[in-house]
Subunit: 388 residues, 2 copies
């Protein structure tokens, strides 16, 4: 059943941008307006995601600020922050509001600047990112997010025999995908050998197992099922699941199963009336290579324990049987925190419409987005389909 | 028409607290659970507000962290940030979700620590607060929030003849109310003379025209109309309006009218099927005395231009014809940013139930909360009534 429909999508190139947040977001929002054929006056509400603007550039209360910048001052506007799952959560709340009949046409999106354009160096950004981990039980130990996902991945390796080579294949695949995406932060390929020779960041992760800090914005125009047919190319949201897991990670019984992703995907598939076997392609939250392996299993696309081998065998490649992160993923497309969830929705929209250019998949009827925040504590899974 | 019902309310004393955010919030949430007679397992979702935890204590992704602490890990959880209107916006989204049938029982609340307990001095906190003003057009000028509201109030004085004595009466009234509220930050009275002799903060505001930085938390259990009758003392939410205004304030045509409050209250009254004349009492966002004057007019309780005289004449006092901020308001009860909107809902609940102790109003059938954020840019107005 259609819950809501995306009728316009826009995003900036992800990478390094020397522009204020409102200008960066404006580029994505105006592209989404143009794509949908709506005017700012048509927009009834604004669901906005930004994770760290207060910490990085002393910029908060961004929902009305950006609403003013894109010409929709006056509408109800709200900012969400749920770590790296920030704009997927904004999107979920927008879907619910549109489905409930509260609004017919809303703007949803996110923006973030994470590169030294904010004036902060990598050490300072790493401390800021770590604000999403437990303040008392994790931060004082020096645990930052490469370490969090390294711990989860190490457990996955122990349980299932996943190897560093498997992980390297995820990086190689996503970098190859990134070369097909003109908006990707990284547009060059790498090799398994190069990945395995990189410097260790947090064992088992080497440099190329980690996604970058990026600047960027993404936005969509979301409308109710009732009005969707009056737009050119609606793409339907048929399921969106949302679950959380306990924080800190030391309290998780089986950390590597990423339970919230299992719960959220079960909800999303049930709403959409499909099973994982029906899914044609997915964008998953590959903040680290190990995170993609765990996500591809948790949302049911790959059998438990086979996420690593599946990447090594090319099953999750652009031309494999279940393409994952055709956009390049966080790994190569980039990861401007508060924009990442919305950018996944943009990618699903373009793939399902057949507008994905050099990275267009042959089969793109059912797409899934998986966006994760913090210690695998917030997860949202969205199912989208072409309008029938 | 009932949109949702509050069936449990809790809050900490506002003031100075040397406890982590989750412990502070836990006190309010557990009190709300007890008051409602619910167990954590009954709670289906979490709508949470915190404005500045990332900036003040490097603590973000608080929704799943606090969910874990209060025993509801697993449920969908979302954090809102909309400056000082943070938890009213969380509450609005919760009302919409409950009304739409998405959830039957949810936890809503907010927490903030703003005092030097965070390790930050007043100058640093003032810089952090100012993050809600325009990053490019206001912050570089040195404009902080006393200045923002001083500008709005100066215009009001120019247009309507409001005087410093009028403003002082607002402070005196709210401090007197604060003596009746055991959870107020300030529990002592003041005088018009003492207010007018205080040091200038931002003309026309002297020290006692300004609310304090406080630590505190507030939470409510919100349920759907369908299940409300199975709880002991439901208080119904019959209207909730939400509007924004343009940022920066230099772009406002008539700054002192605080247009978003007029728009939001019109929505709220229409939903509730009442007019301002039906309202028995209100909690309004008196971050500064001038803000209360403008709010009381904008939401229609006092004729335009008469907010100052109304306070001076005692009309807005505890025993006046339209009591405003019987709790002490932000001015005396305190202002832990992300908790303030939720605390207004707690106050409305207790007044309407007749449980407000020494500050209990004689007539408390229809209550209104007005919560404002940033440059008067986000405003939410909520109407609550006893269940009939």
């Amino acid at each position: 059943m259609t819950r809501a429909s995306v009728v316009g999508a826009g995003m900036t190139k992800f990478g390094v941008h020397d522009r204020p947040l409102q200008e960066l977001f404006g580029e994505a929002a105006f592209e989404a307006f143009d794509d949908a054929g709506v005017e700012p006056a048509d927009v009834e509400s604004f669901y906005f995601g930004n994770a760290m603007g207060g910490q990085t550039e002393n910029d908060t209360h961004l929902a009305p600020k950006l609403a003013s910048h894109v010409g929709i001052a006056g509408v109800p506007a709200q900012r969400y922050e749920d770590a790296c799952a920030t704009s997927a959560n904004a999107f979920k709340n927008a879907v619910q509001a549109v489905e409930a009949g509260i609004h017919d046409v809303v703007l949803v999106g996110g923006v973030e600047r994470c590169t030294p354009q904010t004036g902060l160096d990598t050490a300072e950004m790493t401390r800021i990112f770590a604000s999403a981990s437990h303040r008392q039980y994790e931060q004082p130990t020096g645990l930052t997010f490469p370490g969090v996902f390294a711990l989860l991945t190490k457990r996955h390796m122990h349980e299932h025999g996943t190897t560093p080579e498997h992980l390297a294949h995820v990086a190689v695949k996503n970098h190859e995908h990134g070369t097909r995406n003109p908006r990707a932060h990284f547009g060059k390929e790498t090799t398994v050998e190069a990945v395995l020779e990189g410097p260790i960041v947090a064992d088992p992760f080497r440099l190329m197992d980690c996604c970058p800090f990026s600047d960027g914005a993404a936005a969509v125009v979301l409308v109710s099922d009732e009005v969707a047919d009056s737009y050119d190319a609606p793409v339907d949201v048929t399921g969106i699941g949302h679950a959380t897991d306990v924080v800190p990670i030391g309290d998780k019984l089986t950390p590597h199963v990423t339970q919230a992703a299992r719960d959220a995907s079960a909800q999303a598939y049930e709403q959409a009336g499909i099973t994982a076997a029906d899914v044609d392609f997915a964008e998953v939250h590959d903040c680290f290579t190990g995170a993609e392996v765990m996500a591809s299993e948790a949302i049911g696309l790959i059998e438990d324990g086979q996420g690593g081998p599946a990447a090594a065998e090319g099953r999750t490649s652009y031309d494999g049987d279940i393409p994952i992160n055709a956009s390049g993923g966080l790994k190569a497309k980039g990861h401007p925190i508060g924009a990442t969830g919305a950018a996944q929705i943009v990618e699903l929209t373009e793939q399902i419409r057949g507008e994905a250019g050099a990275r267009q998949l042959d089969e793109a009827e059912y797409g899934v987005a998986h966006n994760l925040g913090g210690d695998a504590a917030t997860t949202l899974v969205t199912v989208m389909e072409g309008r029938r």
